[in-house]
Subunit: 304 residues, 2 copies
């Protein structure tokens, strides 16, 4: 498993007994990211056994309450848990000031380094990169400044063809690094074993795009082209396309149209308005245009 | 029913799957108050069917996160629900600045008047009063500036002794107001019917005292003397009295000692530390000193 997404909350606007605002936990290539953090996210993390200690990076799409009112509570809890590792928070300008003031008035002094990366660009930009993963913003169009995020695995090395390797007792474990890096092996008798014989191709890097909140925006298609999994908000059904337009949200049909244009493998929809009691209607509407669609639901895990 | 308390959350520090931070909903003499507002309070209100519309006054004891991180979400939800009635928030200095900044960065513009009453006094003071109820602060001793709150019904008028009243057909409904105010009735033939014959004594005004968070503090006893219901925090058992002292919290035994000294009718304890898995131990410890004790639990209603 190189990519697993856990839905922590997927409803819009106000929390209700069984409707939690947006938050997702992404494990990709052994990195662990929290995306958005509505009120109650830390409770949902406990409920679905998400490790607090593994998270070092939090990405906030925009500063509407249902996407970040849970951030201060989570940070304060990290403090109570005596966290020492640095924590990086990516989000729109303003997030630093409001978080710092909340920490100050609540006297929640944290011992760890809390590092804010405030976003202001309206163009897609690389905001995080290490040897395993990169994260790029996806400029969205909502009532306030909003970014989606594209998470991509880096190209990995070739994999050992272990059965073939074991044909040559002379090849030792210490040679594996060079083989995975593409080198041939020269045996003691001078025989050259071609790298192609000893390896399998590298697995295709996985990718996940998170797009919420946004109106229908075709500009994002080139950025999210061919991703394995796309989460796209679908606050309304087409019966209220007028309201979607007015509030700068999308319908299930529009989310599916974006998925189709971008030729993604799988679409997840969520951020349902509370006016709809039966969320199955969202799946049905999206499936008219894009068949591999699933509904976000709290606790659901999507594995690639 | 003139006093009913609904426990919305009663655990300390960090929210967990089945442990919600402090919040209580008090109905007293037809007034509706929210006391403290930890993260997730609005979800608990939905779960336990607390009317959002009835609440006009919110009292925040102190600015530790587990007592107020849910306030901004609730206020934003009031905005989404198109509330128009003014909302009064009582709490320590700082609560206005942090709430206003959160509203600003989240662009949660509310149409109603949001009126802050910032508290700074270290003496008990009357902070709310109308014709039905008064609210007085109870200065507590915690790591930060903290107040408890004493909610008292006003003295009510005498009640009609309706069977006796009906002996006199001449007495009309329009006379009831004067009778309840203590006046005698003069019949047309000049006969005087004494007020005592027509009335029953006024029912005893009910009272509730909320004391959290605090260390053991006997100074509060005169303020909460003889209340019907006392909620007193009990974060620890006596096995960790050292830790209670260090963190300025109370033990179950200490809460019971305060209840006994103040001769209250009923004690509720809560704010349990997560280190204790069996909260029944809190009841047992308190009951050694004060028998009429009940455990706070989310969803529990206490009626006087």
């Amino acid at each position: 498993m190189s990519l697993q997404l856990t839905i922590l909350g997927c409803h819009s606007a106000t929390p209700r007994a069984n409707a939690h605002p947006t938050s997702q936990y992404l494990e990709i290539n052994n990195r662990h990211f929290l995306i958005d953090c509505g009120e109650g996210t830390q409770r949902q993390m406990r409920k679905y056994k998400v490790s607090f200690a593994k998270i070092n990076h939090i990405f906030i799409s925009h500063l509407h309450g249902d996407h970040f009112f849970g951030l201060i509570g989570l940070i304060a809890t990290f403090g109570i848990l005596n966290r020492e590792k640095e924590l990086h928070v990516f989000g729109p300008k303003g997030i630093k000031e409001v978080t710092k003031l909340q920490l100050k008035v609540s006297k929640s002094y944290v011992k760890f380094d809390l590092i804010f990366h405030e976003l202001t660009s309206k163009k897609s930009e690389l905001i995080f990169e290490d040897d395993k993963v990169s994260v790029t913003t996806i400029p969205l169009s909502h009532r306030v400044y909003t970014n989606g995020f594209l998470f991509q695995e880096k190209e990995s090395t070739k994999r050992l063809h272990i059965e073939n390797v074991q044909q040559y007792p002379e090849i030792q474990t210490c040679d594996y690094h060079n083989i995975k890096a593409g080198k041939d092996v020269v045996l003691e008798n001078g025989e050259i074993i071609k790298n192609e014989e000893l390896t399998l191709p590298a697995s295709k890097p996985k990718s996940f795009a998170f797009c919420s909140d946004t109106c229908y925006k075709e500009d994002i298609v080139p950025i999210i082209k061919n991703v394995d999994v796309l989460y796209h908000e679908a606050t309304f059904l087409s019966d209220r396309e007028d309201l979607a337009k007015k509030t700068k949200h999308a319908t299930a049909l529009q989310a599916a149209q974006i998925a189709k244009l971008a030729a993604v493998n799988q679409l997840i929809i969520g951020h349902y308005s509370s006016r709809y009691k039966n969320i199955e209607l969202f799946r049905k509407e999206a499936a008219q245009v894009f068949s591999n669609v699933i509904l976000a639901e709290a606790g659901k895990k999507i594995t690639v």
